[in-house]
């Protein structure tokens, strides 16, 4: 009887998830095949999922250009650096907010959000002038710093709430055993909040990865600019390279997806074998 309900439960689980997956992933699949279609085919009626005439031209036109390699490498460099910096600073701040009794904490937490309230576009000109005054215009540093600050407040809030859900008595026990505050954070809290770190890390990474306006204005070109600037090249005055945009997305997405699956598997393994269980 128990096995029977278990079976029903599993079948339900599979069907529901598969159905949602199809709904959610249909556009992805459609976009994937669109990247192999010659442009006019995208607009033919009746619409088809698969290309009638397969073409690799959208891929070759992107991959054969030296500067796209630059765009990709810059994109990874900037996004990974700002993610690490952001998660590092954010976890310190989040821990401070979660574990210490501080004066005017609610005001402080709201203050951290202040930067989030200004649309980036308003800050464009001040940041442009500032970056030139500081001599960091058209460098990686300026983009890493900007991407970090724009994600930092939300990353802090997120990590604080992850830390909040971890019982405090675990650290107290460790500290009674003579652990320092910092050690307790590193060895007790961080491992428990691992799953939270994936979420926040992905958040910070993708925000940096998709950031466009600052990357465009604060760099001179392919030497420092990330992928989004390369993507914008495919939007012309008269036409859009529809298939090229999809091809570039596929190329850009693939390593990210692999990385995500890898990181997530590693961290989940850590959790299930960890102390919480």
């Amino acid at each position: 009887m128990r096995a029977h309900t278990q079976r029903i439960r599993h079948i339900l689980l599979y069907t529901i998830t598969t159905l949602i997956t199809i709904l959610v992933l249909f556009p992805v699949i459609f976009g994937f095949f669109t990247s192999f279609k010659p442009n006019p085919e995208i607009f033919v009626y009746p619409p088809r999922l698969l290309p009638q005439k397969w073409t690799l031209q959208p891929y070759t036109s992107v991959l054969t250009q030296q500067r796209y390699l630059h765009y990709f490498l810059n994109g990874y460099l900037i996004s990974i650096s700002s993610t690490l910096l952001c998660v590092f600073l954010g976890s310190l701040a989040g821990y401070g907010l979660s574990r210490f009794k501080l004066p005017a904490k609610r005001g402080l937490m709201l203050g951290i959000l202040a930067l989030q309230m200004f649309p980036g576009a308003v800050l464009m000109v001040p940041y442009f002038n500032l970056s030139r005054a500081l001599g960091i215009y058209d460098t990686y540093i300026v983009l890493i710093l900007i991407d970090t600050t724009f994600a930092l407040s939300l990353v802090t809030w997120l990590l604080k709430s992850y830390f909040d859900s971890i019982p405090v008595n675990l650290e107290e026990a460790a500290m009674v055993d003579g652990c320092s505050r910092f050690r307790a954070l590193l060895s007790i809290v961080m491992p428990l909040a691992r799953a939270g770190f994936i979420g926040t890390g992905v958040f910070a990474f993708i925000r940096a990865w998709n950031e466009f306006m600052f990357a465009l204005i604060l760099t001179k070109g392919p030497n420092r600019a990330p992928v989004t600037v390369g993507l914008a090249e495919l939007f012309g005055q008269y036409t859009i390279q529809w298939n090229g945009v999809m091809a570039l997305t596929v190329i850009a997405t693939f390593p990210l997806l692999i990385a995500f699956i890898f990181v997530q598997r590693y961290i989940i393994r850590g959790i299930t074998s960890g102390a919480v269980k």
Partner: protein
């Protein structure tokens, strides 16, 4: 759960906060000053620079009906997006956090669901532009099902919903991962204890999951609000605010009226007003949603 290490203020906490606070302060202080100053000024060619016009810009802004249309659209867009994001992300996260007979399959789904998030906004906008075409795949499917065609981006009563749908599709994976992370951080002990007390899955969800996820969901809503309210690129690429002004968001107003023609004074005034609206909403929300004892304890 009480997380009380000491009843007195412990200013050592500021040491942890300092690096982040310094970076945020440095990056906001100067531009903030500039933006507020600019919002009281206007560029004048005769003067060869900016001169003060005080509240003229604000007056002009508040008397522009398009501004109020954009505010209304933005609130609908933001609240609708939050509802759709949570409505999609929470159940899917619960599904993916459930006990699966095969962990590999579950991990596959976890990877699959993140895909939409990897589309950069212009690419996602383009893709959905193709899907939404009057004779495109979605309408073709609808007509095969015997439902008439929908002008997703051409019908003023549909357009805002359509772009909300795309915004949800692109960003729900983020919220799904965040919620999944929260679900995984809930100590197993709590569920075991509830099970011992004879709670079924629904009671466990109500009495363990929901309260444990409270601050995270509050944060997620906050993040969503802060990003959707000044959302620009996705909708801009798809509609530029049309048809008529049905998808005209406040960020479009800022861009078109203030920045496209480099009217920095006016643009800054719009920016300040947007910041004020957001500050009011966020503060009210935080004051209501987060009880005092939750933050000070």
């Amino acid at each position: 759960m009480r997380r009380r290490l000491s009843d007195r203020y412990d200013t050592k906490g500021f040491l942890f906060l300092a690096p982040a606070l310094i970076l945020l302060l440095l990056s906001i202080a100067f531009p903030l000053f500039r933006v507020i100053q600019r919002s009281l000024q206007e560029y004048s060619t005769q003067a060869g620079g900016f001169k003060y016009v005080w509240f003229n810009q604000y007056q002009q802004l508040f008397s522009d009906p398009l501004f109020w249309i954009s505010v209304r659209n933005t609130f609908v867009f933001t609240l609708g997006s939050i509802a759709l994001h949570l409505g999609l992300a929470y159940p899917i996260a619960l599904l993916l956090n459930a006990k699966w007979p095969n962990v590999k399959v579950r991990n596959f789904f976890r990877g699959a669901f993140i895909l939409p998030f990897l589309f950069s906004p212009p690419a996602a906008a383009l893709l959905w532009g193709i899907l939404f075409r009057p004779l495109g795949p979605l309408n073709y499917g609808l007509s095969k099902l015997g439902i008439g065609s929908i002008a997703f981006l051409g019908d003023p009563s549909w357009a805002l919903f359509s772009v909300m749908l795309v915004n949800s599709w692109v960003y729900f994976p983020l919220y799904m991962i965040l919620i999944l992370g929260g679900l995984q951080s809930i100590p197993r002990i709590l569920y075991d204890a509830a099970r011992v007390d004879g709670a079924n899955w629904f009671q466990r969800f109500i009495f363990v999951t929901l309260p444990q996820m409270r601050t995270l969901v509050i944060t997620v809503i906050l993040i969503d609000f802060a990003t959707s309210f000044i959302h620009f690129d996705l909708v801009w690429t798809m509609t530029k605010g049309g048809p008529m002004r049905s998808t005209y968001l406040i960020s479009f107003f800022l861009y078109e009226k203030g920045l496209r023609d480099f009217r920095l004074g006016y643009g800054s005034a719009v920016g300040v007003v947007i910041a004020l609206i957001m500050a009011i909403c966020i503060t009210a929300y935080v004051l209501i949603a987060i009880r005092r004892e939750e933050v000070t304890a």
